[in-house]
């Protein structure tokens, strides 16, 4: 009986698909497809040129292969690079006009859009597959001069900002997956916070991967002008399916003088079944540039899903006195693989960075922290603190730490520490003695282990994340 329950719980909670007719680009990766995407999105010529430039570059690039988790070769010609819910070609003006099926999907995910609009005070730019279908709370944001819209809309309406900042942090000439994204990205979010404005609410996007065999190529650009502040949430759940799906998003953050950007992610894409079949490949490039003095960028991530997670949200600390932070929880169970971490590039004087990474590995999973702290010769008084802790459950899984430390300035300090351990019998015994069953006990202990990171999440996310931590590890102790 109990086994049955556990079995049910282990099944992916958010595994369902919505049936909506799709507009698709023909299969394959070539100039025609890129032109098709650009045309269907009614993009100006400069954007198409930019994409083609990236594609040109892509032809000469090779997929990187230094990562720990290996995956079967991806046939890039066998993917659809564009698919959009049909009803989106005629964009609805309000939520009521939305396809009821779409709304239902969000309801199942626990983000009732209607509800949120009224109760939560969060503007939701929900990305369903590749095209933004609903943007809420626009009025309130417009009042403050904040631009929060889909990338395609930004290309039409704010070309000067897009031209100036798109590709300024992740250039077209970056690594394979970033360049692929530059060539074929479909949509994403665009945020601009004007000078001196503190964004009154937390901006949030829910990503959904829906149509089968569609790689998702999101592009997000957030610009915080002088003295502004924004907190951005990204949450992901994806339907269950068998084939592996590639997700190669690019996220660029730019913080000017005295600005602060806080970017939080909860990633819970389909991790594959318990034998390691299926699941999402999450190869995302996230990079933040602290361009101005006293700027700050903070990444927080909770990674529980995906068959393979391969990402390094990074900070380039260019402005003097700028601050970069990275808080991460990566949980891998069954056959999941994660190779994640961060890069802190100290260029400016008095720059500070802090890295807290918690990796939890269970079942047959492999969890790697890989990070770089690089202090440039001119980065006087730079400071870094890194802590990576790993927790192992069972002797079939692995936990690895691969930090790269480069210190080229004698006035700078770098500290790094890492530990690997397991949940002690005493802790488990103590909890069980007080009436918790073994899974509850593990959930509690792991939540304690992750506390430093969970605290960094905004309220709404923290609750969800705590639940996720528990759900992800169900069945791993026994």
């Amino acid at each position: 009986m109990r086994d049955k329950q556990i079995e049910d719980l282990k099944e992916y909670k958010y595994g369902f698909t919505t049936d909506i007719e799709n507009i698709r680009a023909p299969k394959g990766l070539n100039e025609e497809v890129i032109k098709f995407i650009s045309k269907i999105k009614k993009e100006p010529d400069w954007m198409l040129d930019w994409r083609l430039k990236a594609f040109e570059r892509l032809k000469n690039l090779k997929e990187p292969n230094w990562q720990k988790p290996k995956y079967p070769k991806i046939d890039y010609q066998d993917l659809y690079y564009y698919s959009a819910p049909k009803s989106a070609s005629d964009k609805p003006k309000s939520l009521d006009e939305l396809d009821p099926k779409l709304l239902e999907t969000y309801q199942k995910l626990g983000i009732p859009l209607q509800e949120q609009k009224r109760l939560n005070g969060i503007a939701v730019d929900a990305v369903f597959d590749s095209v933004s279908v609903a943007t809420t709370f626009k009025d309130k944001l417009t009042e403050k001069g904040i631009i929060f819209c889909s990338m395609s809309e930004a290309i039409q309406k704010h070309p000067e900002l897009v031209k100036k900042y798109l590709g300024s942090v992740i250039p077209v000439t970056d690594h394979y997956f970033a360049t692929l994204n530059s060539a074929v990205f479909t949509d994403g979010s665009f945020v601009y916070i004007p000078e001196g404005v503190r964004c009154p609410m937390e901006l949030s996007t829910y990503f959904r991967i829906n149509a089968s065999e569609t790689g998702q190529f999101e592009r997000t650009l957030i610009i915080a002008d002088k003295g502004s502040y924004v907190s951005y949430l990204e949450g992901c759940t994806a339907p269950m399916r068998d084939e592996n799906q590639l997700h190669a998003a690019n996220v660029e953050l730019v913080a000017l003088d005295d600005a602060e950007i806080k970017y939080s992610t909860v990633q819970n894409w389909y991790p594959g079944d318990k034998d390691g079949k299926g699941g999402i490949y999450n190869f995302v490039t996230k990079r933040g540039l602290c361009k101005g003095v006293n700027s700050k960028i903070s990444w927080t991530q909770v990674e529980t899903g995906s068959a393979i997670t391969w990402k390094y949200p990074s900070c380039i600390l260019q402005g003097d006195n700028s601050v970069g932070e990275f808080y991460s929880i990566a949980i891998t169970n069954n056959h999941q693989k994660a190779d994640t971490g961060t890069k802190m590039i100290h260029i400016g004087k008095n720059t500070k960075s802090k890295i807290i990474s918690k990796g939890i590995s269970a079942g047959y999973a492999d969890n790697t922290y890989r990070g770089l702290v690089d202090i440039f010769p001119k980065a006087k008084n730079a400071r870094n603190f890194t802590q990576c802790d790993s927790l192992l459950m069972g002797n079939k899984c692995g936990a690895h730490t691969v930090p790269y430390i480069k210190n080229r300035n004698s006035d700078s300090n770098i500290e790094h520490e890492a530990t690997t351990s397991k949940i002690s019998e005493e802790q488990l015994y103590y909890c069980q003695q007080r009436g918790l069953n073994s899974e509850e006990a593990v959930g509690l202990i792991v939540n304690g282990f992750c506390k430093e990171v969970l605290q960094q999440l905004p309220m709404e996310f923290a609750v969800e994340a705590q639940k996720l931590v528990g759900i992800s590890l169900e069945g791993s102790v026994g």
Binding site: Y404, S410, D411, T420
Partner: protein, 406 residues
Amino acid sequence: MLKENLEFESLTYETLGNTKERKEHFYKFVESGFPSKKLEDWKFSDLKSIINKNIKELKFGFNTIENKSYNLKFTKHFEHSKIVILNGEFLSEDILDIDKNKIEIKNENLIFSESLNEPLNNLNKAFASKLIKLNVLEGKIVEKPLVIYHICDLDSDTNLINTRFELTLHKNSSLSTLNLFEDKSVSGFNNHNFNIVINKNSNLKNYIFDLNKNQNLRYSFTNIDIYENSNSENFIYSSGSKFSKYEINSNLKEKYSSAFINGIINLDKNNHHEIKTNINHLAENTKSYQLIKSVLNDKSTGVYQGKIFVNDQAQKTDGYQLSKALLLNENTEFNGKPELEIYADDVKCSHGSTSGNLDENSIFYLMSRGLNYDQAKKLLIDGFINDVIEKITNIKIQKYLKEAIN
């Protein structure tokens, strides 16, 4: 390019034998060339460019000892047995009476069976003339330290030395060795390969001191296999050479075995030194401990790459690794990669790494007690280093090192 300029045949030194195998290794080496930073293991020390920069023309050739005598000043600090290796070849031995029947020294032909994957090992195999073999016999405790003098006194004909050394401790034995480098030549490349086997219930203390200032480039690879209940203590003092990379690969193959690696990198000018360790925990209840400290002056670069690997058999592993670096000048650089790769859950593994300048508060404290700035600085640096030196368990050798660096 290298291939066109080099004809192995013209180098053949018939009496050595194994021409075919040597040739194979040499061509394999020529194919790959010296390792560059494109290889992950050489990321922080680009040997290819270092060789190009420091040695105008590397002349490949076999080790030679033309005049078989060498006037060497042996260290008088403590009583010891001696082995002298001149330009990569065994020259002489002098074992104290007390340890006479405990050690066996042989000068043998090379065995060619290994793979051809490591470029520097290939180079070593192609040109090392003999395998110097040292056995500590079963049940023998060698009382006095054995000092191995590595002398490099090359003329202009060749500037490459390849030494191959094998040390076996049979069951229930014990030995302390000290490798001392004595370099007279200008800009040569020394390529050492040590293979050490420590059998059951044995104990090896292996010290390497590179003390004297010289222009040589040095690469030393040591593989240590450690069996049940055995212990290997390693200490490296890396200071004198222009460039050096010490690579220690420790395999803890049976239960209750342990490995200790401690080291100091103390540099000035634009010297570049690296210590790379790789500890493989392959059985239950094994232990490893590493402490590496770097003191960097002028324009020097220090690198530490350490890896603790624990396979799924090695439950109850205890692994510890700490690296600290002092950057005393704005042009110095420290690169570190402390790595953990763990596949067993009941383990205690941790590592720490810090790098930075001296603590201003400590200097202020000392100056307020009457020391001047330089004295205060020296005191702090000495204390920083002493911490590691005191890990040397052979007191006489510990004392020798302390005196040598002051």
